[in-house]
């Protein structure tokens, strides 16, 4: 993969140093955040709405740039990245959203293949790899269905398949279970856990107390734009 060139020796998969983010409207979304996340870690990001969780996630996959401070992901200093280089860094980061964001007029297979198509992978390899990840998420049999013919949980599985199909080092999941019922949510969590077990770093923002408390991982709590708690095998810690 092209992302492997020029990479420095990776000490931490994700590293933030005194990161500030002020939006043009004056909102201070993050105020001096510093954190280090190892490769193979699974991290929950929790906190009240509007505390800065989404900004934190967006900075990792470079949808936003920091106003101040340094961010590196997989050894790339992504705060200073030239726009031309952004696509190549993104290929190393899989992103999963609450609303799935699948393309409605493509089949499940096409949605997943799309992510490989975009990086100009050969067709033969695409076919092999897409079937592999569809097997992993358990939806090979529904490969030819369009998103509208799939349940919410199934759509999220396809979205996860798309996120991992290019073998990224990091998965950023912004409330991946937010739209799903508890039982389906557990299925998704087991899938993410499996992916993490295979060596991918996972950063997941969530409001789901049950999940955080039952599947114990590292917890980062963000309030008022600052990390107020960083706990291994932590609890959700909020009443809502």
């Amino acid at each position: 993969m092209r992302t492997s060139h020029n990479r420095e020796v990776v000490e931490f998969m994700i590293e933030m140093q005194d990161v500030w983010k002020t939006y043009p409207n004056g909102t201070n979304a993050l105020q001096g955040v510093s954190v280090k996340i190892d490769s193979n870690e699974f991290v929950y990001v929790v906190g009240p709405s509007g505390a800065g969780k989404s900004t934190f996630m967006k900075l990792i996959y470079r949808e936003e740039t920091p106003t101040k401070g340094q961010i590196s992901v997989g050894g790339f200093n992504i705060g200073k990245l030239k726009p031309r280089k952004i696509p190549y860094v993104r290929r190393n980061i899989g992103v999963v959203f609450q609303d799935f964001r699948l393309l409605p007029k493509m089949t499940a297979y096409e949605n997943v293949a799309f992510a490989m198509d975009v990086i100009e992978a050969p067709k033969k390899i695409i076919k092999k790899r897409v079937n592999e990840v569809l097997d992993l998420v358990g939806l090979r049999a529904k490969a030819n269905r369009e998103p509208s013919q799939l349940s919410g949980g199934e759509q999220q599985r396809i979205a996860i398949a798309r996120a991992i199909v290019n073998n990224p080092s990091v998965i950023v999941a912004d409330e991946p279970t937010g739209n799903l019922d508890p039982e389906t949510s557990w299925g998704i969590m087991q899938l993410l856990d499996e992916i993490n077990f295979r060596g991918t770093t996972i950063v997941m923002a969530t409001h789901n107390r049950d999940i955080v408390n039952k599947m114990r991982k590292r917890v980062l709590a963000i309030e008022h734009g600052q990390i107020v708690r960083d706990q291994q095998r932590g609890e959700y810690g909020y009443e809502f």
Partner: protein, 304 residues
């Protein structure tokens, strides 16, 4: 970009046209409507131009000579007019010929009226018919010819006639039609471009989600732009070809119905003479507008 990727972009571009069904139809329709109005106007201007050209070239100066001058004087005047650089052709019409033509013009009904006139009794003067190279110089040349009388005490020129006033008006009208036509064509082309790019923008707006996902999974801007480029070109091509077809059918039908009517007395420029020029312009413009509209419109979504 390798060839396989290029083929992929072309294929995706084609697929997108069909995937976006009604949006593509809307874009094509907007191109057809704009280019059709433009095409009709171009046809109109071309025909007005051809009529104006004919009218221009039919303008002649009638130089009526005095009745009492001899042949050598006629030759002198003729040579002097011929020496003017603006003049392209001089034709001498003798009084006999003039009478004959007058008889023919009036028809058999007037034969009785003109009975008394013959070679010995001819009220008409000899006449020189002068044509000029540049129709617009007619009034000026006419004045110069009239001024020839100053050189000769015999006053050989009786009257110079070129439809004064009406000729100037005709020139004014044809010049105005050409200028206004040009401005209109340019204006319409501009309006079409905005109308079409706007429609394409709307179709792309509906697909910002798709572009967002492409960016998220690490597509380069070029990779995203290419299929839109192909799609825009394709929509422009289809739109302009449809327009050309409609104009062809409409124009030939009009030509046929006008040609069969001698009362109208005008003939339209045949489509065969202008189709290459017209359709070439429309297709070129359509494709250009399609590409321009789609590439300009996605530019702002690429800044994510």
């Amino acid at each position: 970009m390798n060839f396989r990727t290029f083929l992929r972009h072309v294929r995706e571009g084609f697929k997108n046209v069909f995937r976006n069904g009604w949006m593509s139809v809307a874009s094509v329709t907007s191109i057809v409507v704009s280019l059709f109005v433009l095409g009709v106007f171009i046809l109109l201007v071309l025909n007005v131009n051809s009529i104006a050209d004919k009218a221009d070239s039919q303008v002649q100066i009638n130089v009526h000579l005095a009745l009492n001058i001899d042949q050598s004087m006629i030759d002198t005047v003729r040579n002097e007019i011929g020496a003017m650089p603006e003049v392209s052709k001089i034709e001498f019409i003798s009084k006999e010929q003039g009478l004959k033509e007058f008889r023919e013009d009036m028809g058999p009904d007037a034969a009785e009226l003109l009975e008394g006139f013959d070679v010995d009794n001819n009220p008409l003067p000899d006449k020189l018919l002068v044509e000029v190279i540049q129709p617009t110089t007619v009034p000026f040349v006419a004045e110069k010819i009239e001024a020839l009388n100053e050189n000769h005490p015999e006053q050989p020129i009786y009257k110079v006639n070129y439809g004064k006033g009406s000729v100037e008006t005709l020139f004014k009208i044809t010049r105005a039609v050409r200028n206004i036509g040009l401005i209109f064509v340019a204006g319409l082309a501009l309006i079409s471009m905005f109308l079409i790019s706007n429609t394409i923008r709307v179709t792309i707006l509906a697909r910002r989600k798709e572009i967002g996902i492409m960016k998220l999974v690490g597509a380069t801007n070029y990779f995203i732009r290419w299929p839109f480029f192909v799609e825009g070109a394709l929509i422009g091509l289809v739109g302009s070809l449809v327009t050309s077809g409609i104009l062809y059918l409409g124009y030939t039908a009009l030509t046929n119905s006008v040609q069969g009517d001698p009362m109208l007395g005008l003939s339209l420029v045949p489509f065969a003479d202008i189709w290459l020029y017209l359709c070439g312009l429309l297709v070129g413009l359509g494709v250009l507008i399609g590409i321009w509209g789609s590439t300009v419109s996605i530019r702002k979504f690429l800044k994510v």
